[in-house]
């Protein structure tokens, strides 16, 4: 597909055929050739054909082939006249990341890494179909779906400041559990408090470098600090929910009155019974994921306290922030000088609100919203901050992570005969995992270099680098 270079970091997919707006891909010169080969560019163009889309169909530098919408895709639709699409959110609704700091330094934990990661492997259920130690009844489950993070805090698994430092304060208010199928509810009963599998992880890391000392101070980061990062989503409940709504919307796609170029772009008008139902169901899954990450962080706190042998005050594990990567949000943005209410779909993309924005919690309002960008387990992760440019260009959005570059089969092939565990240990990184192929499939080479991805969003001005983190120990599902 033809791409026109706008500048060093921006590439246009020209408006052709059925596209209502152009596409804009954020990428560096060195990445653009391989991106051009991808089906993902076609997907950016496909999204641009959907009704109510505003300004452009966007993609972040971690763009890759998804189903329907590309991963790394951002698309905003007019709240009154536009569509909402489960494919634009992703199967793993509110797959996201949270980062917590501690009062410990790398030196304090270095000698205990084996013990820490083993204890986490024991105490944090992970892997295929894992069930957790939290057994919900249907009525309690519905409370989780309505309350999100607050449910966990109410049950002694965290405190108020955790909620303060979560996107949307860990709860989308429009959640309506009655919109979920029996299947989705059933799958949610036994998985609360579990990590999941695939690219989900818990990582003990350290702050390797500070780029923006003033912002880092506000976020509570210092060089050499021991940190905890976790990546997980809404588990089987989210998947089932997406499945259910996709099936329903696909069935009725002919009744929409317009053609869609790809089945997986199945959607409904936002202002329709089906659209509103999906939005309110999606909110339930989002809340489940926030409750889950809150619980997982609490478990990690307990593990640290037990293994290091200190109390909560001396550990000082504080949540820096929690962000979603797969979500649709109702937001207000300025378009052509006018305030508009839009539905922003971020699939493999993160919100990046600027300094001064009312949705950014008070503590961070002067510096902007923290953005957490995990890399692969062998290299770096980053903390960024939101900018005004993101608001004007990308509906307040930025990248989410490294993005895969090798298929799972190719990664497994490449890892044959190698001990990925040993290679990582030689770099000082301890790994524990569940599942036979996980390590081969998830090896560092299977992913793009996140530093390159972050370099693009920073260079384009839609995010600012604040700090770089290095992994020390990883638990993979």
């Amino acid at each position: 597909m033809e791409l026109i270079k706008i500048d060093e970091y921006r590439w246009e997919v020209p408006k052709t055929g059925q596209m209502r707006v152009p596409g804009i891909i954020y990428a560096g010169e060195s990445m653009i050739e391989s991106i051009k080969q991808e089906e993902a560019v076609k997907q950016v163009a496909n999204v641009a054909t959907l009704p109510g889309i505003i300004r452009a169909s966007l993609a972040m530098p971690d763009i890759h082939w998804g189903y329907g919408f590309p991963i790394g895709g951002v698309a905003a639709f007019d709240w009154e006249t536009g569509i909402i699409s489960p494919g634009g959110v992703g199967y793993d609704i509110n797959c996201g990341v949270r980062l917590a700091t501690t009062l410990l330094t790398e030196k304090d934990v270095r000698g205990k890494l084996e013990e820490l990661v083993n204890a986490m492997h024991r105490d944090i259920p992970s892997g295929v179909g894992s069930t957790g130690s939290i057994k919900l009844t249907y009525s309690e489950e519905k409370k989780v779906l309505k309350e999100g993070s607050k449910w966990a805090v109410r049950h002694g698994m965290g405190d108020e400041s955790d909620i303060e430092h979560t996107e949307d304060f860990g709860c989308m208010q429009n959640a309506d559990p009655d919109t979920l199928s029996d299947k989705a509810l059933e799958r949610g009963l036994r998985q609360l408090g579990t990590l999941g599998s695939g690219n989900h992880f818990v990582e003990i890391g350290m702050v390797e470098k500070i780029y923006d000392p003033d912002t880092a101070r506000v976020f509570g980061l210092f060089e050499g600090q021991a940190t905890l990062m976790l990546h997980s989503g809404s588990r089987g409940l989210g998947y089932q929910l997406c499945d259910d709504f996709l099936a329903h919307m696909t069935k009725n796609v002919k009744k929409l009155g317009f053609e869609i170029p790809d089945r997986q772009l199945a959607c409904s008008m936002i202002q329709s019974d089906a659209g509103i139902r999906y939005f309110n169901a999606m909110a339930c899954a989002a809340n489940y994921a926030w409750a889950n990450r809150q619980i997982l962080m609490h478990r990690a706190r307990e593990v640290f306290q037990k293994v290091i042998g200190i109390g909560p005050r001396n550990l000082g594990m504080n949540l820096v922030y929690d962000v979603c990567h797969n979500i649709a949000k109702k937001e207000t943005h300025i378009v052509d000088g006018k305030k508009r209410t839009v539905c922003v779909h971020r699939k493999g993309a993160t919100r990046a609100f600027p300094p001064g924005h009312e949705s950014v919690c008070e503590k961070y309002r002067a510096v902007g919203q923290p953005i957490l960008v995990p890399g692969d387990m062998g290299r770096a992760s980053y903390v960024l901050a939101g900018t005004e440019k993101a608001m004007t260009e990308t509906f307040g959005s930025t990248c989410h992570g490294a993005g895969r570059v090798l298929s799972r089969t190719a990664a497994l092939k490449k890892s044959k005969g190698r001990s990925i565990q040993r290679e990582l240990e030689e770099k000082g990184i301890h790994v524990r995992w569940t599942g036979r192929s996980t390590l081969g499939e998830e090896m560092p080479e299977a992913y793009k270099d996140v530093s390159q991805v972050v370099g693009v969003v920073h260079g384009a001005g839609i995010s600012r680098k604040v700090a770089k983190l290095r992994p020390m120990a990883v638990l993979k599902g």
């Binding site: 998804g66 199967y91 099936a247 997986q264 570059v405 192929s437």
Partner: protein, 137 residues
């Protein structure tokens, strides 16, 4: 050959073959569970009937596999055989034989999280029917 794996960056794809549509749909069900576990070691302890509908062949295939996947993801059951009793473009009926997952006897190779519509196809190539399906993993 019943099926083969196809390369996909983020997920898992398969290409399934059959001499007729019945066999194609049976082989798709077999392939899906073969990705999850070693189907040779499964026993057919219980049996049930599944009735599926669809708008067209690809839609029927996705709905068929979604229902079968739920045996595992929703109920912890591993399907050994799914025999198609009757099939048309809009509906199929099948006998599904399965047993519950037991960690001491079964090895789960990988987790399939969803059956997607991405690049779904069911088509005839000469005398053979072919299907392409991508799973989210």
């Amino acid at each position: 050959m019943k099926y083969k794996l196809i390369d996909h960056t983020a997920d898992l794809g398969i290409e399934v073959y059959g001499t007729g549509l019945s066999e194609l749909f049976e082989n798709a069900g077999y392939a899906m569970f073969d990705l999850i576990t070693d189907t040779n070691r499964l026993n057919a302890l219980s049996e049930t009937t599944l009735n599926i509908t669809g708008e067209d062949w690809p839609d029927l295939m996705v709905n068929w596999l979604r229902e079968l996947l739920y045996f595992w993801t929703g109920r912890g059951l591993l399907v050994k055989i799914a025999d198609i009793v009757s099939i048309s473009e809009y509906a199929l009926s099948a006998n599904v034989k399965y047993e519950p997952y037991v960690p001491e006897r079964h090895l789960i190779k990988r987790e399939l999280k969803a059956v997607t519509y991405h690049q779904i196809r069911v088509e005839q190539k000469d005398a053979i029917w072919e299907a392409g399906i991508i799973f989210d993993v």
